[in-house]
Symmetry: C2
Subunit: 378 residues, 2 copies
């Protein structure tokens, strides 16, 4: 089977940078401003509860958000929660459409960018048809005779970068060409202020927004990664522990406490199988690990279970600290960070691990290709 | 590039069969039963308007639905619109989850069915994570050491069977194995009774529910189709004409009158390009056409533009007449019908055409393989 390669990462920051203390304050403020505030929700009750269950800035320092309400205390002109009202799902989808179109245009605005054969559009936080990738393809069709083919990788949650690699890899193996994967996640669009449920307070102090683009091709002459293996497993009897379902106002998440424990137990055999299928002979302690920070305890649980050193997971911690959990956009940000780290050298193996509803345990094995013209060492 | 093959179609009928006259009556009745009925909506106004814009049974005779309210006039125990209330989006997603799980289990309940390596789950009418394919994979994981990998092909609309072939073809080319594609569309879940807009009356008298499963592999020794070409184009300046966006109660469709005209103009060059890429030498009048019946006028528009005979499109008319527009499940039902038609012989070329938001014009070229052991004639 022909190898596929990942390269040319470019991320675009959300409009607003939110410090974690500021985020905690805005979670309190948005509840106090609610037009239909539940009985008994006085300032002290709300603040106590948010501070008790919200993630402190020891793990997350900053997150990006597209929603001005999380950074500004006044009802500004572009306020989302107007007069304390909770927007309907259609208002959120409209917001998603507008902002993702802007970001998509920014991704393809650069003079040096050439036309991809395909775009795989990845999101679990906004569904419009047509979507931002289709709008871009329609515009591109005015000046090009070759169409851009758009494929959606939707509603798969945090691990969706790995199915996206499966889809994009299959496409470039079939007809060659450069398949761009574009992640657009606006998780903060779905934070519901009408709850003080501990699970939801964790979610609202953990998730964040992110946009990132990268390219897949069969071209070995690249600066990036060679994809050696992909694997996904769904763990039996865990389907109730995590879910993501659209409702009348937002997409609602269930993220149970038991998730890290369930995942932890499945890790060792999973790692063994994926390394075997990638035919890797390196010792595990020489491998770089890209771990999706699904919850505050996940990176730690993986490190403990697999006996990893801080050195092996440094980029995962860095991305969680600076960006929070950007759902499917998170792992690609970690990959971008690994490529930018001068300590990571050509030929090193990178194992990625991500988790989502199912519970799904998803992973990949890459080989780092650090210099142009080096090709594959395989 | 290795060829891929389609085989083993199995469809499962929705719970209720709805005659078109009965459907028209239920569209009237559900409006009369509305708890919050708009002013001026008396019986005569409603009936006149529904009969004026609803599709008569000259083109569609029956459609399948999972919702009992469309066939029964009483408020039965499993009534969806309880006491004339309009269900919220979360109630509809819950309904979707329950019913798709049942149907998925039925698809994989047969003793003779072996485990696929992958399932590509295709829908644009219900998004839950985990989904029915993931629940099935989780159950299967209890008795098998090899996981079933699930990939979503979501929110692409009526033409999604063709991206699903692109995804599944890439997967089986990458690692072999049998990739099952499972379509589950419950369009009637999203009929909003709170409107008398002509466009919406057309939608509610056209769309229907459908479930179908088939398999993709690199195994030429099959009874089915060889995939020779796939192509997708997005037409510039048409993005406003068709849309599909979740709102607080349902997924809402925009389907403008101009769609058939816009599509019609793009057909000839599209057909020329896709036949060229499939390296087909047959005369166009020997080709079978599978045309997605996106609207009442689409099949006719395609026939006129491409000069097709009734013989060439008979299965498309049959499926529209007996099932309505089942969104992404429609083309696979037409393919199943072509395979079952004894007049269609080994080696015949089948061109499929489907349309969706973008506007996207999507197509495929297959070669029919009518007897086991015949392999590919290519």
């Amino acid at each position: 089977v022909t190898s596929t390669f990942i390269s040319d990462f470019r991320s675009i920051k959300p409009k607003f940078l939110l410090k974690q203390e500021q985020a905690i304050q805005s979670l309190v403020r948005l509840r106090l401003q609610l037009k239909l505030r539940p009985e008994g929700w006085d300032e002290q009750t709300i603040e106590t509860r948010i501070r008790r269950f919200g993630l402190a800035n020891s793990q997350i320092e900053t997150r990006g958000t597209e929603i001005s309400d999380y950074v500004e205390s006044n009802n500004s002109i572009d306020s989302f929660f107007k007069n304390g009202q909770v927007p309907s799902l259609e208002e959120r989808m409209e917001f998603f459409k507008k902002r993702t179109n802007e970001v998509m245009n920014e991704f393809y605005d650069a003079r040096e960018i050439t036309q991809p054969s395909d775009i795989v559009h990845v999101t679990c936080t906004g569904y419009t048809a047509p979507n931002a990738a289709q709008e871009l393809a329609a515009n591109w069709a005015k000046k090009s005779n070759t169409p851009i083919t758009v494929t959606n990788a939707y509603h798969m949650g945090c691990f969706a970068s790995l199915p996206a690699l499966r889809i994009a890899g299959g496409i470039t193996r079939t007809h060659g060409g450069r398949v761009d994967i574009v992640h657009q996640e606006i998780c903060s669009l779905h934070f519901d202020p009408q709850t003080l449920d501990p699970e939801q307070i964790v979610v609202q102090s953990l998730f964040a927004d992110g946009h990132i683009r990268y390219s897949i091709s069969c071209d070995a002459d690249t600066h990036g990664f060679e994809v050696l293996a992909l694997r996904e497993e769904i763990l039996p009897e865990t389907s109730e522990l995590m879910s993501w379902i659209p409702n009348r106002t937002h997409f609602a998440m269930r993220l149970a406490r038991e998730v890290p424990v369930k995942i932890k137990h499945a890790l060792k055999p999973f790692l063994q199988k994926i390394l075997a299928s990638a035919q890797i002979s390196q010792s595990p302690d020489e491998i770089i690990f890209a771990i999706h920070p699904g919850g505050p305890k996940i990176i730690e649980a993986v490190e403990n279970e697999l006996d990893l050193t801080a050195e092996q997971t440094i980029e995962s911690h860095d991305i969680l600290r600076a960006h929070g959990n950007m759902s499917s956009a998170t792992l690609p940000h970690i990959w971008q960070k690994i490529l930018a780290n001068p300590k990571r050298v050509d030929g090193q193996v990178v194992v990625s691990l991500a988790f989502g509803p199912g519970l799904t345990l998803s992973g990949s094995v890459f080989r780092l290709i650090h210099s142009h013209g080096s090709g594959s060492a395989r």
